[in-house]
Amino acid sequence: MFRIRCPYCGERDQIEFGYGGEAHIARPADPDALSDAQWADYVFMRTNTKGLFAERWVHSAGCRRWFNALRDTATDRFVATYVIGEAPPLPVPQLVPGDQAPDPAEAIPEEAAGGGQR
């Protein structure tokens, strides 16, 4: 059971929230210019990170506003929540197609992990 800090309302129980999956996936600026493979990447492919992960939540039973969160998917610890439009407060590992994996030891900074939610 999570306690999630809505940036607008403060900390609430998980049951008040809905989940929106991976954050910061921008809709392609020029959809007509995309190849099928690029469309597939946008529509279907996901980073699905084990570790620090940026994701969207909506405070359905509260202010009904969307926001982003950084959570460690290996421990379920929330590191931070932040409003839509802001950059993530910590760098988030991303996998670019064709690249080798991000370093799995990509550690969450001690102060951020220890500090819990913002």
């Binding site: 099928d36 492919m45 996901r46 084990k50 080798q100 994996a101």
Partner: protein, 416 residues
């Protein structure tokens, strides 16, 4: 390999069971193999067995980061059925069902396969039409399925709440009589024992930490027990397909979610079959020990923690009690979560990848157990010939680019 039989059981019974031998040897990783399978669950062990048996590839290894059958093989609810909608699904799931029927004999191991029947309940006219459509599709594909009206449902499984006053009254169900349940660890052990007998190395406590790729081709893998050279690697993990894929630089159409299940205290036989309901959102069977085995939907969030949240359990229990008010005073004994790799179309991936010699079998979502024999069979064929057979072909990674999805959300539904 010592054959198991009634006589061997009797002999050991009379001499205090001190003559049983270990059925596989703890292998040290060799420097090189012809092929390596990542993941020692049901699918991985089945793949190794069919590679050795049908393709003569015996200089191979299974590397498993924990112990054999300790991942999702140990965490699922062992429901077997093949009543999916599309041709591609019928081909693989019914192939599995046919293999299940003879598997205990073939592997000389009691996998406790029980074809007790699977009911998929309909609670309104639309669900009834969907289920009847699926029954017709099943029959066209030679998959056994039939429709039961409310009276027949009550006769087949008398403990279901058939009251017309209930919130979601049961108006009928599809029934697959050959569906059922089996024993999860027996299946893994049976495949491992048979594969080991054919020469396969089984290496437990061996976690893959990286893949070695040279000029677009796999050349080996790094593990916590050293480097292994091999021209072929098959990833057959559950819950970590994206993590292994990322080692090869692949972004995959997979999201990993917790899926929770629970069992009640053991009681006398009361539930004669498997009951699943999409609308009420739960499924329930009874194990041979007498425990009710209960499952429901996934937790919405991504996680690798093998645990979910309490609200999902609450919904799960509410759903089961809606169907079976008779269970209301039972105590729960155990509860656990597994991580399921879910594809956007609720169908798996059995595929070559852009890295030559690296094969993927994963994304089975909430329902991989039932497919275990066919999954291993099809992947072994793919690894041996480097070409997918007719069963594996629809499950390629390319389908997410071409758009030729195998959209089985209707048949997968509550969790398959």
């Amino acid at each position: 390999m010592t054959r198991y039989s009634f006589w061997s059981l009797l002999r050991e019974g009379l001499r205090g069971h001190d003559g049983w031998q270990p059925v596989w040897r703890e292998a040290e990783p060799k420097p090189a193999y012809d092929a390596v399978i990542i993941g020692g669950g049901g699918h991985g062990c089945a793949t190794a067995y069919y590679l050795a048996k049908e393709h003569g590839l015996t200089n191979i290894a299974i590397v498993e980061k924990g112990w054999l059958g300790g991942g999702n093989a140990a965490r699922n609810t062992t429901i077997i059925r093949s009543n999916y909608l599309y041709d591609a699904s019928a081909a693989i799931y019914d192939h599995a069902l046919q293999l299940w029927k003879g598997l205990g004999r073939e592997l000389n191991f009691n996998i406790m396969m029980s074809h007790r029947g699977v009911l998929n309940l309909a609670h309104d006219d639309n669900e009834m039409r969907q289920l009847k459509r699926r029954i017709e599709a099943n029959r066209l594909n030679g998959v056994e399925a039939e429709w039961l009206d409310a009276k027949q449902v009550a006769e087949y499984c008398p403990i279901i709440n058939m009251s017309p006053q209930s919130r979601y009254p049961v108006i009928g169900a599809s029934l697959q009589r050959s569906g059922g349940v089996n024993r999860h660890d027996a299946v893994v052990w049976a495949y491992a024992r048979a594969a080991h007998d054919l020469g396969v190395d089984i290496i437990q406590n061996c976690e893959v930490t990286g893949l070695k790729i040279e000029a677009g081709r796999i050349s080996g893998l790094e593990t916590n027990r050293g480097t292994i050279r091999t021209p072929k690697v098959a990833s057959v993990v559950a819950g970590h397909t994206s993590v292994i894929g990322a080692m090869a630089g692949l972004r995959l159409p997979i999201e990993s979610h917790p899926l929770q299940a629970l069992v009640s205290e053991p009681i006398k036989p009361v539930n004669p079959c498997v009951v699943m309901s999409n609308a009420v959102h739960a499924y329930c069977s009874q194990s041979d020990k007498g425990e009710l085995v209960i499952g429901a939907g996934i937790d919405a969030h991504l996680s690798y923690t093998q645990r979910g949240a309490f609200p999902v359990i609450e919904e799960e229990i509410a759903a089961v009690l809606e169907l079976f008010p008779i269970f209301s005073r039972l105590k729960l004994m155990r509860h656990w979560g597994g991580i399921v790799d879910i594809c956007p179309d609720a169908s798996p991936i059995i595929s070559k990848t852009p890295v030559k010699g690296f094969y993927l079998n994963g994304g089975w979502g909430t329902g991989g157990w039932k497919a275990t024999p066919a999954s291993g069979h099809a992947l072994a064929d793919l690894v041996a010939r480097d070409e997918p057979n007719a069963i594996a072909a629809p499950y390629s990674l390319e389908r997410f680019t071409t758009g030729k999805l195998v959209a089985e959300h209707g048949a997968a539904a509550v969790a398959h």
